[in-house]
């Protein structure tokens, strides 16, 4: 167990290093990018950048310094705005994104799992067809379409909810629903197929042969097994919600990190792009790591060999 954990942690650090390296050198490849000191950049910013990245040093030394800065979570100054650092930006805006993201994750789990379970239990009945049609629709409609649809109906036509901005619960409903759309649909599909697979297992037959009631079979014997694969979806789901927030925060004018990230892409604010990418990567890799470490605790049959299972 300990060995497995150490290997997983080591692998995650390796991924992290790979990511940072790729990012660093990609950014260097940009003509007029953050690490070349030309173009009409405000003098103050230029000075900052030069200081921070020590642009006169050889490349390998810059890289080492960059890694050194990262070890104490220093992501450097903004490329576009004097006096702002990437850290400031994250500190200000990430809490908003986090709040929105958490609500969306909670929504998709609370809606997706029951929907999928019902579809599986009513396989090939109308409940199944209806849920799966909706779920397929849900994975097929891009989030920006769903967002605009919801705004159009609830904000413009019905004037029930605010169309944009941030502050209070009512502002959260539409963006959280939009953001939860795809993951909900995906979880519903995943739950259904994993439930169907579990229900076809011999041990479910055993449970029936013991005379357990359908409710007890479902609750005690099927659900836990069926939910195990869903746990592995948490990592990708978080990543999806994160990237989804780039668009959603823009449409709803929410002052979160996703919106700033997109703005920085429009502005080609390279250091912010770089810093936020690394920040998000760390977040997602960390989450995946946690899931991987929890997974064996929930699934007693897993063999801990230190290799990631398929």
């Amino acid at each position: 167990m300990l060995r497995y954990m150490l290997i997983r942690i080591f692998n995650s650090l390796l991924v992290l290093l790979a990511i940072i390296t790729i990012t660093f050198f990609l950014m260097h490849a940009i003509p007029g990018g953050p690490f070349t000191s030309e173009k009409n950049i405000p003098a103050a910013v230029l000075k900052n950048i030069e200081e921070h990245y020590r642009l006169h040093d050889p490349l390998w030394k810059q890289y080492i310094d960059y890694l050194g800065n990262l070890t104490h979570f220093d992501l450097g100054p903004s490329f576009k705005y004097a006096g702002r650092t990437v850290n400031d930006l994250i500190r200000e805006s990430f809490p908003v994104s986090l709040q929105l993201g958490m609500v969306s994750i909670a929504l998709s789990i609370l809606l997706g799992i029951p929907a999928g379970a019902i579809a599986a239990l009513r396989q090939n009945k109308w409940q199944d067809y209806a849920t799966m049609f909706l779920a397929t629709l849900g994975v097929s409609v891009p989030s920006f379409v769903l967002a605009t649809l919801l705004i159009y109906i609830f904000a413009i036509k019905l004037s029930l909810l605010p169309a944009a901005m941030w502050g209070g619960i009512t502002y959260m409903i539409l963006p959280a629903l939009t953001l939860a759309g795809q993951p909900t649909a995906f979880i519903a599909r995943l739950t259904r197929s994993s439930m169907l697979e579990v229900l076809a297992q011999d041990y479910i037959k055993t449970a029936r042969a013991k005379g357990l009631s359908p409710a007890l079979i479902l609750y005690r014997h099927a659900l836990k097994n069926a939910l195990i694969p869903i746990i592995t979806y948490i990592g990708p789901m978080a990543a999806g919600i994160l990237t989804g927030s780039f668009i959603i925060e823009n449409i709803f004018a929410i002052p979160g990190l996703g919106r700033h990230f997109v703005t920085s892409i429009y502005n080609r604010d390279y250091t912010v792009i770089l810093g936020v990418t690394i920040f998000y990567s760390v977040l997602i890799i960390g989450l995946n790591l946690i899931v991987d470490l929890i997974y064996p605790l929930l699934n007693p049959r897993i063999k801990l060999t230190g290799k990631q299972g398929e």
């Binding site: 011999d202 037959k205 029936r208 005379g211 005690r220 007693p300």
Partner: protein, 336 residues
């Protein structure tokens, strides 16, 4: 055997409606099981043994399955008429079943103790402690060492043979009147098979449970059962006491099965596939006697009409035209 039968299957017919048409998996079969006796059902793969077993427990998925005809009397009640809730009271309590594959028949995420204990809590209304205590006792009974510790473990921590013992412990925990064992040893290797069969024999003596043992393997049946039913293509080919079937077999299919039985001087078990040809496709079964395409003794009439029932002695019956007075005397040694 002068008491009333515990279980009486009467003209049971079970169909499956598949996309390609109707499959009669079990076709008009009748047999009885008396309290405390062990009977065997033998036949090749796909002949309807499991469907028979599952029908008794009402575990056939409907649809596609359908109980087309017949009765399954348990005591005085027809199980086919029971509601799902009434059936649930019988399953695991009065009638238990053990499945072929112990590797997959236990829930991987629940402890062994939990899985044995839950039927006790359900049927015997025990509290958790008592159920656990009884589960420990049952594990000891089926020969699992240090049961107090093992009870907290998960199925993957047990070997295949040990898991089948757990299954047996689970099935017997509520003292059922009837135990159905659907190929309980097929998935195990030979030495373990023998141990499990010994265990079942031992427990049958101790607990006086009636057993239906389903198997491909006449050898397994010979070691445990007093009466034997030979099935072919969803029908009963021949039925009788173990002595009838092993020493006075009358059906060419039974002869074929017996010839595939390993002799004591042989180390390796041979497969049943010794009978040439394949079991029929139940979607379009042969006319007449279903065995005729493979039967070395087949006659013209076998292609047209299903053989009448011939009762030879009390309890020994056979479906074969060779029993007809006009039929030639067959030479048993002929095997196609």
């Amino acid at each position: 055997m002068n008491s009333n039968p515990l279980l009486s299957v009467e003209e049971l017919t079970v169909c499956f409606d598949t996309f390609a048409g109707e499959v009669k998996a079990v076709d008009t079969i009748s047999f009885q099981v008396y309290p405390g006796e062990a009977i065997g059902i033998v036949g090749e793969s796909g002949c309807g043994k499991s469907v028979t077993a599952h029908s008794i427990m009402q575990l056939i998925p409907t649809p596609p399955g359908r109980y087309a005809k017949g009765k399954i009397l348990f005591g005085k009640d027809d199980l086919l008429q029971k509601s799902e809730a009434d059936m649930a009271k019988i399953r695991g309590n009065d009638i238990s079943i053990i499945f072929q594959d112990a590797m997959t028949s236990l829930n991987p995420v629940l402890t062994i103790g939990m899985q044995i204990g839950e039927s006790l809590q359900l049927h015997q209304h025990m509290n958790k402690q008592d159920a656990y205590a009884r589960a420990v006792e049952m594990l000891r009974l089926v020969g699992i060492p240090s049961p107090e510790e093992r009870i907290k473990e998960y199925p993957h921590q047990f070997s295949g043979g040990m898991r089948q013992r757990v299954m047996i412990a689970m099935a017997l925990s509520c003292n059922p009147k009837l135990l159905i064992a659907d190929e309980p040893t097929t998935a195990l290797d030979v030495t373990i098979q023998a141990q499990i069969l010994d265990l079942m024999k031992d427990l049958q003596g101790k607990l006086n449970t009636a057993i239906i043992l389903i198997s491909h393997d006449l050898g397994a049946i010979a070691s445990l059962c007093s009466r034997v039913i030979v099935m072919y293509a969803g029908k009963i080919a021949e039925a009788g006491t173990a002595i009838d079937i092993f020493h006075q077999p009358q059906h060419p299919y039974t002869w074929g099965l017996l010839q595939s039985l390993p002799r004591i001087d042989m180390m390796q078990k041979q497969k049943l596939a010794i009978i040439p040809g394949q079991p029929p496709d139940l979607l379009s079964p042969p006319t007449g006697c279903p065995f005729h395409p493979r039967c070395p003794h087949a006659m013209s009439i076998c292609q047209e009409h299903y053989p009448e029932t011939t009762v030879l002695t009390k309890g020994h019956m056979v479906h074969c035209w060779l029993q007809h007075p006009d039929a030639p005397k067959p030479n048993r040694e002929v095997t196609a």
